[in-house]
Symmetry: C2
Subunit: 236 residues, 2 copies
């Protein structure tokens, strides 16, 4: 972790610890420079990071303020911690339906940027939140990067395994979101009815070097799909 | 516009102009410093901005690469340009159903952080993409900030009016996303059937000083709701 990231974490912890609310002011850039004993450009980078994580907003000539505006029960869709950290507040369990090694379909090959005769790990699981169905997942991993998986690994945090077990550096994700009607198979897995609404999201996850290692197709139970996105842009 | 933002725009234009694709390398930090005649910390900030806009990714010890990975027909949900820039590729029109000044409901007061006896502008419109229904919108504006609106303004780009007409500085947006079934009223406006799926998004838009000026409730036609999100985090 780079120095500016470490400082950003420290500031975030400070906000947590003091339970600061939206609009609360935090120490000035000059105070933070002094406190952490680093240059202006390092603090600026830390603050930019916190701003893009939706944790603070900066008002020129006025100060730095806490942004955090959480709604209860919403999962934060965009966060540098990924889903995991938010999920920690919920009780998530998994049921594995399938795990095998196969050749990619055209769609999978395209998204993982691999050849048709390359191998992928394919996993299918249902996830539960407090014992109720949250989503049906189909996960495809480039086997030349994710060299080993088993049922136990994909029941738990795959991310921890990839980072700590395999020592890989996880980078950015492209996300594609649709709304549609459930097929009867999906409805069965989720305990819903055919043609009920579904939120369907495709994720393409890359290492920090830009290689796609995972393509996921996730169908959410619409009754339990409440997502929050904090963005530094605007609507209309 | 600050210098680092200007340079970020220049680099983005360079990528556009040369039609660079995902994985293509752009000039190094040192080359960019030399080319723009600015300090390392300015270029670093420009690159951080481009990274969080999902335009590039940086690999330590290896270089700076183009990230852009667009899928055709998808609207970019998270972008510093907001929806507007993506919509420019589509033909968007509006039909105004209502525009009045009223007192806020509890929900609106809470989201705009105003009192029950404050005034809000209320607008209701249907938006069309290439002549077909895209969404039904209910827009609430804090009248003490957005002091004037009329039918013509809300038929066009409200954002340009707010920025250029009223001279306000638009900051960040909080977004809350659900999937549900259409009510019969919504279905009528969108030309769909009751109980068809809907994507429902609430937006709370703030000025750069943190004041909420707009609360919007938007119901999308699920047949035309394909959103892309580029994020610097991961799934599972």
């Amino acid at each position: 972790m780079l120095k500016y990231q470490h400082i950003a974490n420290e500031i975030e912890k400070y906000i947590e610890k003091h339970a600061l609310q939206q609009g609360d002011k935090i120490p000035s850039l000059e105070m933070l420079m002094l406190h952490f004993g680093v240059s202006k450009s390092t603090i600026t980078r830390s603050l930019d990071l916190l701003e893009r994580k939706g944790i603070i907003f900066q008002v020129r000539g006025s100060g730095i303020f806490v942004r955090r505006h959480k709604r209860k029960g919403y999962i934060n869709l965009i966060s540098n911690q990924g889903f995991k950290k938010d999920h920690e507040n919920f009780q998530i369990t998994s049921r594995i339906i399938q795990l095998d090694i196969r050749k990619p379909t055209r769609e999978v090959a395209l998204n993982l940027n691999i050849e048709f005769d390359d191998d992928v790990y394919y996993g299918k699981r249902v996830r539960y939140i407090h014992g109720e169905t949250l989503c049906l997942e189909e996960l495809y991993f480039n086997k030349s990067i994710i060299t080993y998986l088993n049922n136990e690994i994909i029941s738990e945090s795959i991310l921890s395994y990839i980072k700590e077990g395999l020592g890989l550096k996880v980078g950015f994700t492209d996300t594609f979101l649709h709304v549609d009607k459930l097929t009867s198979e999906e409805a069965t897995y989720l305990g819903l009815k055919k043609d009920n609404p579904k939120l369907y999201i495709e994720f393409v996850c890359h290492l920090t070097n830009g290689q796609a290692f995972n393509f996921s197709k996730v169908t959410y139970n619409y009754e339990r799909s409440q997502f929050a996105i904090q963005m530094n842009s605007y609507y209309f």
